[in-house]
Point group: C2
Amino acid sequence: MEEFVVTPWEVRGKINYDKLVKNFGTKYIDESLLQKIKKLTGDLHFLLRRKIFYSHRDLDKLLNDYERGIPFYLYTGRGPSGHVHLGHLIPWILTKWLQDRFNVKLLFQITDDEKFLFKKTLSLEDALNYAYDNILDIIALGFDHRKTEIFIDTEYIKSLYKIALKVAKHLTYSTVKAAFGFDSSYNIGAIFFTAIQSAPAFIEYERNKRLINCLIPCAIDQDPHFRLTRDVAKVLKYPKPCLIHSKFFPSLSGLDKMSSSEEVSCIYVTDDEELVRKKIWKAVTGGRGTVKEQREKGGIPKNCSIFMYYYYLFEPDDNKLREIENKCKNGELLCGDCKEDLILRINKFLKEHRKKREKAKDLIDKYLVRD
Amino acid sequence: MEEFVVTPWEVRGKINYDKLVKNFGTKYIDESLLQKIKKLTGDLHFLLRRKIFYSHRDLDKLLNDYERGIPFYLYTGRGPSGHVHLGHLIPWILTKWLQDRFNVKLLFQITDDEKFLFKKTLSLEDALNYAYDNILDIIALGFDHRKTEIFIDTEYIKSLYKIALKVAKHLTYSTVKAAFGFDSSYNIGAIFFTAIQSAPAFIEYERNKRLINCLIPCAIDQDPHFRLTRDVAKVLKYPKPCLIHSKFFPSLSGLDKMSSSEEVSCIYVTDDEELVRKKIWKAVTGGRGTVKEQREKGGIPKNCSIFMYYYYLFEPDDNKLREIENKCKNGELLCGDCKEDLILRINKFLKEHRKKREKAKDLIDKYLVRD
């Protein structure tokens, strides 16, 4: 019986994050590594403090290199098969923080080719439209345009293709099949695609022809791609890309489920105030059956999707977060209180985001690179 | 026991061309089809008359369409893994003739990506260098630059990629494996590649958005690619490309072998006069053991690689060819006579070719299209 599944194209079941570290062969971001980051940046983002980014590959090595004067750049991405939801923002928010703190270049890959190849009913034209839509959300987060290159695969393929070919030559069907669980009914584009996702991990090294590391912040489901990338790096004599992995943003419809394709289980950046209200009121909480019971026994924050929204995104202050947690546990806060408060916070955030998103329409050319 | 093997990447054994027609499911170019071509063009190229181009897919349909006013364009290609030899010229010579006679556009694909992916020791840089080298030979044949677009895959990938993705989405690993005989040790680039070779068969239709047929002159080993292309065409609602298939240029080292990778069995366009002389004198002929025997019994032209050189390329005049054949059969001609004569003809041809090849260096920009 399978407990849970995590691949770049499917995440389901109740995810055991410790098991992923073990199965994937990654390392935990431990206290000493956090202290090292803090030493270099001056502080720690709550996504790191709270171990939402919890796993890594060679981050220690990259930071040691950095201290010795070997630079790095950031690389992350987005598969444009629909609108952006709040969960998608998590890796990008940390990526922005890292860009600001380390003052480094960021490559942002939009994989319209991937989404077209993996989604039966998605046309290439629609994937491209979503790409342009999603780019507005990315720009809205405030990346430094002088240090950020966003590109859409089908419009940047000439820059990616040669490196992708070099990667592809060293990846057999067997290897890719084992890494992703493909069978022979998969299409040949899907099989090839991982080579395209590898390319940005090497492109800066190829361009500069001097040692530069690559740091990839991503949700942990993307790790199988970059395991292959790292294996091939050795053969091609490229530096191995380093990774930091996040957990998945929790679903509103229960913490043992992922949010991805279920409409009501997540908040899209395009959701209006009423829809946000509706979704949050429907959310699964850690509350008790009755008000009386909750006042007596208190709620259970660790089972509460509302609390998780505070934890992951909407209460960056650890003291205030602890206050919410304690007040819930001792019955002071009722679920309705939290829901109303969260609705306000989300709608405030989305209102701001949509403003920045509108402005982003005039900024696209500052970020987008094309062949 | 396998009798012979014909795939796009391997041709060996004594080839049974009738069996290929049967196995591949193509049709013979028969007399009525030849008459139809003649009706439209005014004459017949000797490569057609002599059934060196002997097989087709839907050429009849394409010509009927043409008569009804539906245009077509030509598409052929070259895999640049080394210098061009005389055998490579055969499909291109007919392609030029078709371009001249029908006054149509030609797309010429140079698959540097393919050669890199399939040749273990070939670098991408070397494949690209061979691409530029081979393009000179192509231009030297005199294609009409106003109607010819030559492109190198890695430099034209942006134009090809979207169509290739659409093709790839409809080709499973199973299908490609069966068509080419791949196993799971093949690299993922090699598996994907056929989608890139499909793209030019659809690109003019995509651009024009009006019905235009595509005619692909090629050696018959390329047919498996285009069988897949044709299957996918149906799904994507593109016109199915039509094909005419040539036999392989015979080897100098015996007619039961292919020339491709054996250095002495073929003449490269770069071979100097002395090397041509050496190779031709080493060639396997249909001659007898002694001069005396040959004078008495005559030679056997159908077993003679020298005669095949006349047949395929160096004696376009059927009457003169018959004269050579008869004189050989009745012992008038000795092998040395033919060899000396052929050496003169080849060296004259190559001298001319190399002159045109030099001039081609200044013409590249008139032919080459890049993204």
